[in-house]
Symmetry: none
Subunit: 219 residues, 4 copies
DNA sequence: GATGAATGAGCATTCATTCAT
DNA sequence: AATGAATGAATGCTCATTCAT
């Protein structure tokens, strides 16, 4: 019996080994430029073994994404456990999000890009369903945690809005997504200049945004 | 004399021929999956001829992007010429943006994705500078048109904000960018459900957003 | 244990398989006109496999050259082991050289030509260093074997010269190289006619040359 | 009548224009790396016009070679007109040859290489016959000038040999050719080292060589 | 005679995936 | 389970040559 468990544990360790290798390489070169060969090498495994744990390069990517989302999920859980006004929770969540993104920019970029690309490439291929589902579920939970924070804020009065919590959450998500794009596009274009001219930063801008959006005085 | 002009016109027509072919193929399969071979075939030209008009596959892409931006620019110019309150101008611009995006979703997606990817691939390559510059300039102008609309709104009282016009514009841009992402990610996730549950659509949500953001009652 | 060795042997056999294929094709069409595709086909391997054994088309060429030089080296070694006057050793070496060349004319030509061309093409590329080094070393050894033969000849009195052995060797090398050129340039020009008119051949001419050069009576 | 001549002269000028352009480019990049496009540009002509004057890229090359040979021919004529002992004439010719080579190394290399390559490429093509003939003739004349110098030397006693003048000339040619190879192979290998160690240079080595070869004391 | 736009065959190289051992 | 050798489809780009004007 114990033998089965050990096997199980080792299997998981291998998976992690691979995943870690991929993430490292993504940070260094991006996902597309990373070959299965390199991944195998970095993970100190053979190329063939990779396919024992992941059906596909695409699946591998999906798994990496899942890991990133789980990471974010843990952080969001940590935030919502804090005893703070809802408005603060919302703000902290968004800042947490942006921080995580910034610190793993290359990684996140790879996630986002591939999210788009894979449709181009996978024409017809099945795509491992479970992991994709997992990712969606985590994303849903992230969304719901934000909704909960908003609800808390409405109850404690720190948030004033005429919108449904879910709708407001969606709006905030769009803003986050937009800011994310800004970070990801290496060429910050004129945007950076505007921020500099006004002695602003993305986090500060975010606060301004929330100040307005969470204090809706319109009837 | 007329002969030179005719040549000139024909040259331009060829360019357009190619560009149109590329856009069609992008809509059908995405840019990466489109080979120079296919482009040539679709444009009813030989592969070699492509390289007479565009140095590179990358340059070709850049040119397509420029065309899309010019298209948007024209529409924005059309909006700002209208005799309407600034708040309306801003709303119209954003709606115009979203409409254009939606109608050429595949195309836009290709643009956005490639914007990210090329950095991965072009490590070291020179990249035709002029077209890239052109694109940046048009993007800047788009930004400035939005700023102008905001300024108009502030003067005519239709917009109330404590933010600098440029900063507000940036904020609106982020929101647009986020909404764009929503459109582009084929899998609309839980977001679509939320919209449906509340009998909303992106345009309507946008209006709500502007209602709040352009009527800042906070001190 | 034996398994590792077998693998090793098979690997070497593959390399030889490829090398042999290349040489055949070089004899038939020259190196430049030979495509990787053809090489793979002739070696009954896939194109990809070629790149498993040789980084580059250029590297492949280098390897072929090395093989040729090794072949020559063996023959030179065989000559110098013979118990003959030094003058005879020198003559035999030069004849050996010319024979080998003549019998693999196409092959040698490919070597010589590419030696020149690659500089034109490889501007910047790294070039596998080890094989290049190997080739240089073998060339050096060939040179030194000739020097040794000369030294033997000086000691046993069969060679009379006021030149340093190395310098004399260099001179002989130039003559060989010139004769080589004669063989390689398919159009033997007027040279052939001269030889015929005097009932001479390159080997005979070589003997005459050595007669003079190795019996230097000038003070 | 004058009009025809003028046309003729202009035609020749165009040819020279092109030839000069090619030579420049060969010196800069080698022949293979030089495209018809570049040649046209440098000659300030259109690509199509090139084909009005030369059937082929190959023919163009042949023409360049002819020009080089003519150049050499003139120099040889200049030498033989000098009132010097035959041995000196021979030496001067060979030095002239080596000088010319050295000063136009890139050019000469291109000539020699292509001499070999073209057979690989021209499988089947006709090759403009006249120019090829011309080249052969000039080469023959160069050879005969050397023979004449030798004959002069034999008569005036400055050259002692038991060989036929033509045969001796051939031998000297081989040596020149070998030295040429040395110059052309950028990597002078161990040869350079030998020269340095003995404080020699190719010209000095050549003198030594002639000292021996032109003073044949063997019966 | 001159032009230069158009052609299209030709080629090295990469890399995800498979499968015999 | 693990390996890694073998595969081969896929693709961007070059350039000598032609030909309508």
């Amino acid at each position: 019996m114990g033998i089965k468990e050990r096997k199980e544990r080792e299997k998981k360790r291998r998976r992690d080994q691979i995943l870690t290798a991929v993430i490292e390489l993504i940070e260094e070169q991006g996902f597309d430029r990373t070959t299965m060969e390199e991944i195998a090498e970095r993970a100190e495994l053979s190329k063939g073994t990779l396919y024992l744990y992941f059906n596909d390069k695409s699946t591998l990517h999906q798994a990496v994404k899942k890991r990133g989302l789980q990471h974010l999920h843990e952080k969001f859980l940590h935030v919502i456990k804090q005893d703070l006004p809802g408005a603060e929770l919302v703000k902290n969540m968004m800042l947490t999000f942006l921080n995580t993104i910034t610190q793993n920019a290359a990684f996140t970029k790879a996630m986002v890009i591939y999210e788009h690309i894979k449709e181009e490439n996978n024409q017809g291929k099945p795509e491992t369903p479970s992991i994709v589902e997992d990712c969606k579920n985590i994303e849903d939970e992230l969304f719901m945690l934000m909704v909960r924070a908003i609800q808390i804020g409405i109850q404690d009065g720190s948030i004033q809005t005429r919108l449904q919590p879910k709708v407001l959450s969606l709006m905030l998500n769009f803003q986050m997504s937009g800011m994310l794009n800004f970070y990801l596009s290496g060429t910050h274009k004129s945007a950076t200049k505007v921020l500099e001219e006004n002695e602003l930063s993305i986090p500060k801008l975010l606060e301004e945004f929330l100040d307005i959006q969470l204090n809706d005085q319109t009837q």
